[in-house]
């Protein structure tokens, strides 16, 4: 808030940097120990590794079946995002533009259901999903993410579309554009800022989600990164060299995603929370 860099600002800066380092300490421990031998982890936990043990990573990579679980996570996250964006933007658009009681009722149902915690749904959901053949299927899981994510996604789109003037659409209709054409060619491109926000919030949630996939995907071949890490960590508890390398491997994709989209992420999270 100060405009000049004073001695006081310098002290504040030192304090802030020390705090920042404290925040990073857990990452230091995990990364540095993931490159040590098991014996060295036990004898010298805090020091830097003497010889870098990249073999930990090779082993963890294989035992996690990393390529497969990474691909699974990617497919599920991307597919869920695609269906959420397509169907929720369409629904929100129609709910805003149709000035009827039914639109309000449906919208309020979506919003009100955001309150329901997952634990209040999961038991019958897994039972129903079993009957519908949605268990052990990535598509089943994607449909579930559409169901769970629709409340917030429609809510965010709804708020954004309300502020888009309708005149443009009316002109397009007069020019002979179909309702689908109006939406996809005229309205949807205008939604880009909120689409980015929606995409980021949903991606972080779905990529990190553990409980739902753990209930739906029982087949080891379908495991996502959090699921695979969970079983891997359980199997190699106390075998820290492997467990830690596996943890780092699980975190890397998130870091890449974050640093490539940092600006959007911070903006998206701030705007998403305030609404």
């Amino acid at each position: 808030m100060e405009n000049k860099y004073t001695g006081r600002t310098f002290i504040v800066e030192i304090v802030a940097i020390v705090l920042g380092l404290i925040f990073l300490v857990p990452f230091y421990y995990v990364v540095s120990n993931s490159l040590k031998t098991f014996a060295e982890i036990l004898t010298n936990t805090s020091a830097l590794p003497t010889v870098l043990q990249f073999s930990n990573y090779v082993q963890a990579f294989e035992k996690l079946d990393y390529l497969r679980v990474f691909t699974n996570s990617l497919i599920i996250t991307v597919a869920s995002n695609v269906v959420l964006i397509i169907f929720c933007s369409m629904a929100a658009y129609m709910l805003v533009r149709t000035k009827k009681k039914i639109s309000n009722i449906i919208f309020m149902t979506f919003v009100a259901a955001m309150v329901i915690p997952f634990q209040s749904i999961m038991i019958p959901l897994i039972k129903t999903a079993g009957n519908l053949g949605m268990l052990n299927s990535m598509w089943g899981l994607v449909i579930m993410y559409l169901g769970f994510g629709s409340g917030m996604t429609i809510f965010l789109y709804h708020g954004f579309i309300k502020n888009i003037p309708v005149e443009l659409e009316e002109a397009a209709i007069i020019d002979g554009c179909s309702p689908f054409g109006v939406f996809w060619r005229i309205v949807f491109p205008l939604l880009k800022p909120i689409t980015v926000t929606v995409m980021i919030l949903n991606s972080l949630w779905i990529w990190n989600d553990f409980l739902l996939p753990s209930l739906v995907l029982q087949d080891p071949e379908l495991r996502t990164i959090p699921l695979a890490t969970f079983f891997f960590f359980g199997q190699y508890t106390k075998q820290w060299d492997l467990a830690l390398a596996g943890l780092v491997l699980s975190i890397i994709p998130l870091l890449i995603f974050f640093f490539s989209m940092q600006k959007h992420i911070i903006k998206g999270i701030t705007s998403g929370s305030i609404k």
């Binding site: 857990p26 990452f27 936990t45 309150v115 129903t128 409340g151 409980l211 890490t229 960590f233 701030t270």
Partner: protein
């Protein structure tokens, strides 16, 4: 294609035409109404269908199951009235303990997360040379899911603290952190604050940046101290953000599951098992679905009550300002 052309006409009708249409033959009006309804269903239908099957119907059937003895395996579902709830509040000591623990944890976590988050926001809103990188650093833990964070800290508490304790001789680090119910509870608190503070910081930061600098300058010229500025200008200006952050942390703390599972798994001896984990165990480990649903219903009612209070307070604020 011909369908579309007709629909276009429908949409472009002005109010006058609509009134004129009303006098036209009803069959035409019905087909037009039908098309509008069809279009509505086409746009809203897919999302609403998925939402109904995945969220709405399971939730409502869940409410019903809360009053039964369903075990999920056999087809027998018997209505038992309020028996499940009676059992939970009179006999199920583990549930009662989890409930109280979750409330205690929620109170501690919201206070600490908000204080740390607000403090960090104050720090990184100064003209520091490293403020951008520090914002990233403080936010970083939030990016990673609770499950992975719990595993990271398992290593820190078990090996890292031991090593720091041996090097410094500080008894704080030599405690059996995850092996004792009291310290294990604080372990969960530490991880959640570490995870949540950066997120809360971002919201406070956005609010702090909206505080008009001319008012701050004017107050300083009038001789206000730093603390007075913070107390009488900054704090009231960020009050709406405080409401947002309080409720964000209340509901996320109350629903804690991932960190609880991966850091302590409710241990030692179920002493740190919070509500969400307790419901999970009841349903999927003990296979007592009916009882699990009764717990889930109570859980829902608490979360819903918190949200209703939040919305009414936010609404009131909006009216006042």
């Amino acid at each position: 294609m011909s369908n579309h052309t007709k629909l276009e006409n429908t949409n472009s009708t002005s109010l006058g035409q609509t009134i004129a249409n009303a006098s036209k033959p009803t069959s035409f009006l019905n087909s037009k109404k039908l098309k509008k309804a069809g279009l509505f269903a086409l746009f809203v239908g897919p999302a609403f269908l998925a939402f109904s099957v995945i969220v709405l119907i399971p939730f409502l059937t869940g409410v019903y199951y809360a009053f039964t003895d369903w075990n999920g395996v056999t087809g027998n579902v018997t209505w038992v009235g309020l028996d499940n709830f009676k059992y939970l509040f009179t006999e199920d000591k583990q549930f009662q303990q989890s409930f109280l623990l979750t409330i205690k944890y929620t109170v501690v976590a919201i206070v600490l997360t908000n204080i740390v988050g607000f403090g960090l926001a104050l720090l990184v809103s100064q003209m520091l040379k490293t403020r951008n990188i520090l914002r990233t650093v403080f936010f970083l833990p939030n990016l990673i899911g609770g499950l992975l964070l719990g595993f990271i800290w398992q290593f820190i508490f078990i090996r890292g603290f031991q090593s720091i304790g041996a090097a410094t001789g500080w008894s704080l680090f030599e405690l059996p952190w995850l092996g004792d119910e009291n310290t294990a509870f604080w372990g969960i608190v530490i991880v959640s604050v570490w995870q949540g503070a950066g997120y809360i910081m971002l919201i406070y930061l956005a609010a702090l940046q909206n505080v008009p600098q001319d008012i701050v300058e004017a107050a300083k010229i009038d001789g206000a101290s730093r603390f007075q500025v913070l107390r009488h200008i900054t704090m009231p200006m960020v009050a709406p953000a405080v409401t947002i952050c309080l409720f964000l942390t209340i509901s996320s703390s109350f629903k804690i599951f991932d960190v609880n599972l991966s850091l302590t798994n409710g241990g030692p001896f179920k002493s740190t098992e919070m509500l969400a984990l307790n419901i999970y165990t009841e349903a999927f480990v003990n296979n007592r679905y009916g009882l699990g649903e009764a717990k889930a219903l109570i859980f829902f009612l608490v979360v819903a009550a918190i949200t209703v209070i939040q919305v009414s307070i936010t609404k009131k604020r909006e009216v006042e300002s």
